[in-house]
């Protein structure tokens, strides 16, 4: 950064030790920095912005109870456990007048029908990213077991997504806790391994663009980014169903800046802010529509109905799945 902006920044920060400050902990590249500046400018509140890569990273800090963060963005399935463990502060709707800006689908979400704990922020889905010139459009998860793709296909490095996809391929429920079904899913995953190139997350984007990988289980947002770089990448939502994830803005109970936090949450709900953030993050916003929407990020209604919002599993079901995952990976 150039010297002048550095000096200005330090002078301002010294002068502004009297301005109130809010500590926001979010996923990386999940906001438009211009919007943060806008908030600081409009409301006179300084924002300290930190980022994390996974829910667990955020949770490890939140559990300590003195992490210093005020606002966090857990994925929807973590909200209930966090609330039950007393980590979150209840939202006072009187301070959130813009809640009406949410898309109707997110006004009474299945994980938090009264929006007591968090405000839906961004959402995405897991599906199949593929190279349209070399692979015909996948219709079901089965496409990722095609021998023709040997060595050129990847799955996500995430037990929930992989085991879930195997379960859905067998037409079992995504959230299944039935051991027989789970064992069948495990067998599917292991049989896939000899075709599998690797278990990769966002890093597969580069390989799709370069042509090393022809099909991948991938999130809609990462695929949208790849598509912008290379139009021959496409995205398919499997017919058996697919998981949906929503990251929501919540306030930590340990925070001593409750009112400021809610001001920020309300700010995020403003239409132009939500649109700017969604554009910068390449994700779908939970706010109501304003303008044309990319069908990759915002699937049409009939496809949307096939999606499922995974819930947090009870501890022993989680343990069972975790062992399966270790078995799959070591096979």
């Amino acid at each position: 950064m150039n010297r002048r902006s550095f000096l200005t920044a330090s002078a301002t920060s010294l002068a502004c030790s009297t301005r109130p400050r809010l500590n926001v902990y979010n996923w990386s590249t999940y906001i438009d920095p211009a919007m943060l500046e806008l908030f600081e400018h409009e409301r006179g509140i300084r924002i300290r912005y930190g980022t994390y890569e996974s829910n667990e990273e955020m949770l490890a800090k939140a559990i300590t109870g003195n992490s210093g963060w005020d606002v966090v963005f857990p994925t929807h399935s973590r909200l209930d456990p966090m609330a039950r463990n007393g980590l979150l502060a209840k939202l006072d709707h009187r301070r959130l007048p813009s809640l009406g800006n949410l898309d109707p689908r997110f006004q009474k979400p299945v994980w938090d029908p009264h929006l007591e704990w968090a405000v839906p922020y961004m959402w995405n889905a897991t599906g199949i990213a593929y190279n349209r010139t070399q692979v015909e459009q996948p219709r079901t998860w089965n496409a990722l077991w095609s021998p023709a793709l040997k060595g050129r296909l990847t799955m996500l490095d995430d037990p929930e997504d992989v085991i879930g996809a195997c379960l859905q391929k067998l037409r079992f429920p995504f959230d299944s806790t039935d051991p027989t079904q789970l064992q069948a899913a495990r067998a599917e995953a292991i049989s896939q391994k000899r075709l599998l190139r690797a278990y990769l997350n966002a890093e597969v984007r580069d390989q799709l663009v370069a042509g090393d990988v022809l099909a991948a289980q991938l999130w809609s947002t990462t695929t949208a980014q790849a598509m912008r770089a290379d139009p021959k990448i496409a995205f398919a939502y499997p017919e058996e169903g697919y998981p949906l994830y929503c990251d929501c803005a919540a306030v930590l109970r340990e925070s001593s800046r409750y009112e400021l936090a809610l001001e920020f949450l309300d700010f995020l709900l403003q239409p132009k802010v939500a649109t700017a953030n969604a554009k910068a993050a390449d994700t779908a916003t939970a706010n109501a529509a304003s303008g044309p929407r990319d069908p990759v990020l915002y699937p049409p209604n009939d496809i949307y109905q096939r999606g499922i919002w995974p819930e947090a599993l009870p501890a022993n079901a989680q343990r069972y799945r975790d062992r399966l995952w270790t078995e799959i990976k070591s096979a």
């Binding site: 590249t29 800090k61 300590t64 003195n66 992490s67 210093g68 963060w69």
Partner: protein, 251 residues
């Protein structure tokens, strides 16, 4: 020793190969690792990024405080253990080496959480520094111990026979002899501290994001050439520092 020289050159080339790749792609106009033309805009983006600047400053502060501290503590410890065995300390140091980073991080986090109930301090640069010193001491001690193992006790004894106190014997006789090892240990400690991600990310507080944390966040979402630009800048900066210190030394 011609073959040895050739080998060393090849080995160093191997170590630097990924760097060259990074640097080459920092000039790539495109985002992904497919060449799309020459461009400097990633460098502009790197300079404009305040998060990067802060991360760099924090990393430097931490390394500059933690490395000397751990070098001193580690060297003294190695010396003390060399004089006469200290099995408990040696055992603890080995244990710290043997612990996986995530375990160190999580357990330190738990310790701080417990301590701070009484002390009312949040996580911050101080907790990161404490953690870095803790895990670096073992590295320093190992390097210095290896060196001391072949150091002749008689030198110090001779000095003391000539009237020097134990401390003077140490500082005037032993230290100069093992100075290169201390320098190597300090360098190791610096690098280990500067590059650490797992432990730092767990015990860092709100204002203490380090450079690896910023870079990881950028890189995890898929390779971003800003990261390449930053890495290239770091390498060039340190390269220049090295050249300067070499020049100074040769004077």
């Amino acid at each position: 020793m011609k073959p040895l020289k050739l080998y060393a050159a090849l080995a160093l080339a191997f170590l630097h190969a990924p760097l060259l790749v990074l640097i080459a792609f920092s000039f790539n106009a495109g985002r992904f690792t497919v060449w799309e033309g020459f461009s400097l805009h990633w460098y502009q983006a790197a300079f404009a990024d305040t998060q990067l600047a802060e991360g760099l400053i924090n990393s430097l502060i931490i390394a500059i405080v933690a490395a000397p501290l751990s070098t001193v503590i580690g060297t003294l410890a190695a010396y003390g253990m060399w004089r006469r065995q200290a099995p408990v300390l040696a055992g603890t140091l080995y244990l710290s080496l043997v612990t996986p980073e995530i375990v160190t991080g999580v357990s330190l986090l738990a310790l701080f959480q417990w301590l701070f109930r009484f002390l009312r301090l949040p996580l911050g640069l101080h907790t990161v520094i404490v953690a870095h010193v803790a895990f670096s001491i073992a590295y320093v001690a190992i390097v210095i111990s290896a060196r001391l193992r072949d150091y002749d006790r008689a030198l110090e004894e001779a000095a003391m026979d000539l009237g020097a106190s134990g401390w003077r014997a140490f500082t005037r006789v032993t230290l100069p002899v093992i100075a290169p090892a201390i320098a190597a240990a300090a360098l190791l400690s610096l690098v280990v501290s500067f590059d650490d991600y797992v432990i730092t990310s767990l015990v860092a507080g709100v204002d203490s994001e380090t450079l690896p944390m910023v870079i990881y966040a950028m890189a995890r979402r898929g390779v971003s050439p800003i990261v390449n630009a930053v890495s290239a800048l770091i390498v060039v900066a340190f390269g220049v520092l090295i050249l300067i210190s070499q020049r100074l030394r040769e004077k």
